[in-house]
């Protein structure tokens, strides 16, 4: 073999090997996968972007397969929001011509991933005037809308493609006269007692901590645990560290040093489920694999690591960059202090202007007043009051609704009109809430001051009502 042939052979072998590494990275994962992303993902998915299988369930899946993964994660939220444009509306053949203009029966028509150059707010990858495709004649029945640009439809306080539960016309009319601050500004759900999940015997009847001798914690840990409802409810050391074990030998044999969210979920199912749906926990949800099994055992199923602030796109505290996010990151192991989890745990990582402005803000003062006993229960406002509010949610098995803190921080975050009903209107009138949420500077100041923005939606509703009444 002459030198040229040898070089050709080496080149071909190297090309095959290099290609093989790339293809393996794409199909099975590993360190090369990050380099193969075809475009930056949206803020909603960037944390799971290396778990390709989450959306691309197989190597050659169809767009329908991808659609199914959208529905798998997002349908419950859409149903809860009484989706204004549900899939079922577009199944009617009379809308076939509309689907020709805009395939609104597919999520990916409006939300195409990996297209950063055309991605607008809420992960929308269509020009913002897309409403015109079906609603171009809106001015016929709404003279107030004549001349408005279709790119303004989704302005804060006006319309939302999916969720209009707090901004539909009759709701605006019903709450038009509300004052900025209601007569009884109380988050009522925060005054309700949540049923304890602990089913064990109270500590008084089961005696001391049941950790094996070599796992005994110090006095400080014991003191923290004894002060919790875990201890009061009979959740002993083994309740979390050896959840299925009975008897000292079994406890020692199956002891887990650091129980994960799955252990917490055995009692706090709804909290864990919602946490896995939000940005804090989504990397740990089922089937989020950075590597999938294949190539004769060369690749193994590997879940994504827990979220770390260094992976976030929002400003974070540098000192917390490498901390891993699990249940105990916010709730701290053994103490499980919900007050710490409601504020200090958030500001321990988040370093954006809104978070940094919380201390000393009107909401913070209310929180301190409630904490000191100078104000009624439910009047304080912590980070969690707004971003992980309590809600009645469908419980395990779907049998009944259960009151719990919704740990999916994204459930009522963006667009921020989603917060109006679940959060703001506990204490504030609708008009004030809409205006406040439409003022980015006020949000940065953590609501220290009054809204400088005014959304006219309520004004228009009342004007139309007056005109109709005068006919």
């Amino acid at each position: 073999m002459n030198r040229t042939a040898q070089l050709w052979l080496v080149w071909i072998l190297l090309t095959i090997a290099g290609g093989g590494v790339l293809v393996a990275g794409m199909f099975y994962g590993g360190p090369t996968r990050a380099k193969l992303l075809i475009g930056e993902t949206t803020s909603g998915h960037h944390q799971i972007e290396l778990a390709c299988n989450a959306c691309h369930t197989s190597a050659f899946n169809s767009s329908e397969d991808i659609e199914n993964t959208c529905h798998g994660c997002h349908d419950a939220d859409l149903n809860a929001a009484k989706d204004s444009h549900p899939l079922k509306k577009f199944r009617d053949p009379r809308n076939a011509d509309r689907l020709d203009k805009l395939a609104a029966n597919k999520c990916i028509t409006c939300h195409t991933e990996h297209r950063p150059n055309i991605t607008n707010a809420m992960g929308v990858t269509l020009p913002n005037d897309y409403c015109a495709l079906c609603h171009q004649d809106v001015g016929k029945n709404r003279p107030s809308h004549v001349g408005l640009g279709f790119e303004t439809c989704a302005s804060a306080g006006c319309h939302n493609y999916h969720d209009n539960t707090s901004i539909y016309e009759d709701f605006l009319e019903k709450h038009a006269a509300e004052p900025d601050v209601k007569d009884e500004p109380v988050v009522k759900l925060n005054t309700e007692k949540i049923e304890s999940a602990a089913k064990g015997d109270p500590l008084s009847t089961i005696g001391a901590a049941d950790a094996p001798d070599d796992k005994r914690a110090g006095a400080d840990v014991m003191a923290e645990w004894l002060a919790t409802s875990h201890a009061k409810g009979g959740v002993n050391c083994s309740g979390c560290h050896a959840p299925k074990a009975k008897g000292s030998e079994a406890i020692a044999a199956s002891w887990i040093d650091k129980p994960d969210h799955k252990v917490c979920a055995t009692c706090h199912g709804l909290e864990a489920t919602t946490w896995l749906q939000g940005k804090h926990g989504m990397r740990l949800a089922d089937k989020m694999l950075s590597e999938t099994q294949g190539l004769y055992g060369l690749f193994q199923n590997k879940p994504l690591s827990p979220m770390r602030p260094e992976l976030a796109r929002l400003p974070m505290q540098s000192k917390a960059a490498h901390s891993e996010l699990t249940c105990t990151s916010c709730h701290s192991s053994h103490a499980f202090d919900t007050k710490q989890a409601a504020i200090a745990s958030c500001s321990g990582c988040h370093a954006d202007e809104h978070t940094k402005a919380y201390e000393g803000s009107p909401h913070h003062k209310l929180f301190l007043a409630e904490l000191s006993g100078n104000a009624e229960k439910g009047t304080g406002v912590s980070c969690a009051t707004c971003h992980m509010p309590r809600a009645w949610m469908e419980g395990p098995g779907g049998y009944e609704e259960v009151l719990a803190a919704n740990h999916n921080q994204n459930a009522n975050l963006r667009p921020n009109e989603k917060m109006i009903r679940s959060v703001c209107m506990n204490c504030h009138g609708l008009g004030f809430s809409i205006d406040a949420l439409a003022d980015p500077d006020l949000i940065k100041r953590n609501f220290d001051g009054r809204p400088s923005a005014h959304i006219e939606s309520i004004d228009w509703v009342m004007k139309r009502l007056k005109e109709k009444g005068g006919q």
């Binding site: 053949p93 009379r94 076939a96 011509d97 009759d170 019903k174 009502l465 109709k468």
Partner: protein, 193 residues
Amino acid sequence: MLKVPRTILASAMAAGCVLAAGAGASVTAAGVAYKDVADMLIAVMVADRTVYTKKVVQRLAAKEKVVKASEHYDDDKALPLPAQMFRFGAEHVADNTDKFSYSLLSIWPINKQNAPRTELEKAGLQFVAENKGENYYGEEELGGKKYFTAVYADVAVAAVCASCHNEHKDTPRTDFKVGDVMGGVVIRIPMSE
């Protein structure tokens, strides 16, 4: 005569039309006429709609006044309106089968999205409004598929139907009375090639 394959007949039966089929439609080994299937479906729809309107909404909301009926039934902790009940049924069907679909439309719609859109809808709704007691049947092609389409008058079966529509701020017509045709039910059955 246009015939429906037996699979569609099975869907119609599943929708509760067994009695109607036995009562008069000419079921053959080859199938049953599209028109007959549509007529069976409308019989069930009208029955359910009338029962809900009279036995639930009119009785409990209008007469006994123990509960309200509201367009925003969730927020107002009230009964869904009969028209909403009907639409929920149509959506439920759409979620479960593509063998047929139906919608409630009107040439005087409160929600303008429920105005007629196709030529057949326009002709059919006009026909049933002007020819009381008669139905309108035809074929149309939508999205590349051929459909047998039937339009049936939707009549105000109770005073609450007329009064609610007359008083709604988005209504284009305010003089409905009991017995008037207020719109129409459009049933579509995809036709086999």
